[in-house]
Amino acid sequence: MKSLRQSLHKQDLLGLGLMVILFAVFYFLFDEEILDDYWETNVILILINIIMAVSLNLINGLTGQFSIGHAGFMAVGAYTSAIITVKLGMDFPIALIVATVSAAFLGFLIGMPTLRLNGDYLAIATLGLGEIIRIAILNIDYVGGASGFMGIPRLTTFPIAFWIMVFVVYFIKNFKNSADGRACLAIRENEIAAETMGINTTKYKVMAFTIGAGFAGTAGALFSHYYYIAHPASFTFMRSFDVLTMVVLGGLGSISGSISGAVLLTAISAALADYPEWRMVIYSIVLIVLMLNRPQGIFGNKELSLKMFQSIKLGGGSRGGTAQSE
């Protein structure tokens, strides 16, 4: 059975090719200033949100542990990276790595006790933890306290954000298709059965939580190094909810879904930037329509693949309809 290796390589190469083309197009557009700074800001925000959504999806969608404290880990990443570059004067790549590792470490520490909880209880605990992190930061004068951490250089560029996003998506996609990923899926589906199949459920829950938190830290580092500032108000539970909305909109458990959810909602937000009072109204309408017509999200738990396009060609109907090609 050599086919597995070949078909996977083919898929990866195809995906990589698409990414290079996408990157080249946007790079060209930004470089020639056909798209202005406003566009670039939003595209980078989309990339950061994709990282956030895909990493949260690993916890909420793949492993089924309902966590809503993702903004807290993002804050940890944003602040630690800022400390590294501003206070310690080190390079951005080191800041990115330290941000990821420290957020992951915190996720590991927090995950150990909280992941004993289930469902609503876990949601409440993680919500609280996100807020605790934010309020702790608010009271640390070393990082600026309530006025925020100012004077962070803009080191996040489009290429950096783009390729980190590609890396994170690739990482989580491969994780999903590995034995560890299957263990996480099993936990989501039926924890008792997973345990009886020889799966150490605590280990995998903590693993998913740690990886997810780590990438949220990466996103935070990109975020603070794009907006010159890390402010506690950027990491309230509203941000966690935003990310959660992206994941649910796209479909819990689907990486393609999280990406499209992040793109869609960030774009809607950007389009409504001039009418901030309408933003929430449109948001809620989008969500209500979705919950009524497609409660499993745009992609359900399926992934975008060549097969899906083939079934569309065969007359599978709308995009949403074929995503659930059963």
Binding site: M1, L4, R5, L8, D12, F171, N174, F175, N177, S178, A179, D180, G181, R182, A183, L185, A186, E189, N190, I192, A193, A194, E195, T196, M197, G198, I199, N200, T201, M207, N301, E326
Partner: protein, 256 residues
Amino acid sequence: MAELLKVNNASMIFGGLRAVSNLTMQIDEGELIGLIGPNGAGKTTAFNMLTGVYEPSEGEITFNGQRINGKKPYQVTQMGIARTFQNIRLFSELSVLDNVKIAFNSQVRYGLVEAIGRFGRYFKEEETIEEKALALLKIFHLEKLRDETAKNLPYGEQRRLEIARALATSPKLLLLDEPAAGMNPQETKELMEMIRWIKKEFNLSILLIEHDMGLVMNVCQRIYVLEYGICIANGTPDEIKHNKRVIKAYLGEEVS
């Protein structure tokens, strides 16, 4: 024959209720044992003690000479005890093939880094797992349904898949919790054949909870009878059939 499982005076106490009381039981290699009793007799509780879901309040359980007390269910599975559930517990949103693949997880020998980078042992191991999983599905006539979502399978096939999945953990002892529940006589008969065949083919011991007396009396070499958590009899099917206490437990006392 070598002794495989030994339950020594094990009790499970929930508050004031002795769900299982001083159970003593032994299963040797290659044996097919039945565990019967009226509803609420503590059969499933006994299963849960054997698989680490509950830790016995008293007494000791050893498997292959190792203590099971205090072990987590996944550790017990890795020691070589697999089970199915009374109410089927499949990974319902996943494919039939993935359901079985998951059970091979503790045999996977590649690490996280290899999985993410897709190098080293990743491909070889994944291929082996897929082959093994498909081989198992083939035995249970499920190979055509490999990509079907597990929840969409008919009831009987879900039961078969659950057994296939349990076997994928390569157990030495298989615990079947009411495998014939909800099956018609024809299906039960096929199941009976299958249980015998599995035991021989996979070289295991089986402990079977079942209400279908025809099935139990037919396939089991020895039977343990529980009533109100107490083991009231054990012996060969013939002995059990004529045991007064068992008859009383099931049918009540004779009117004199």
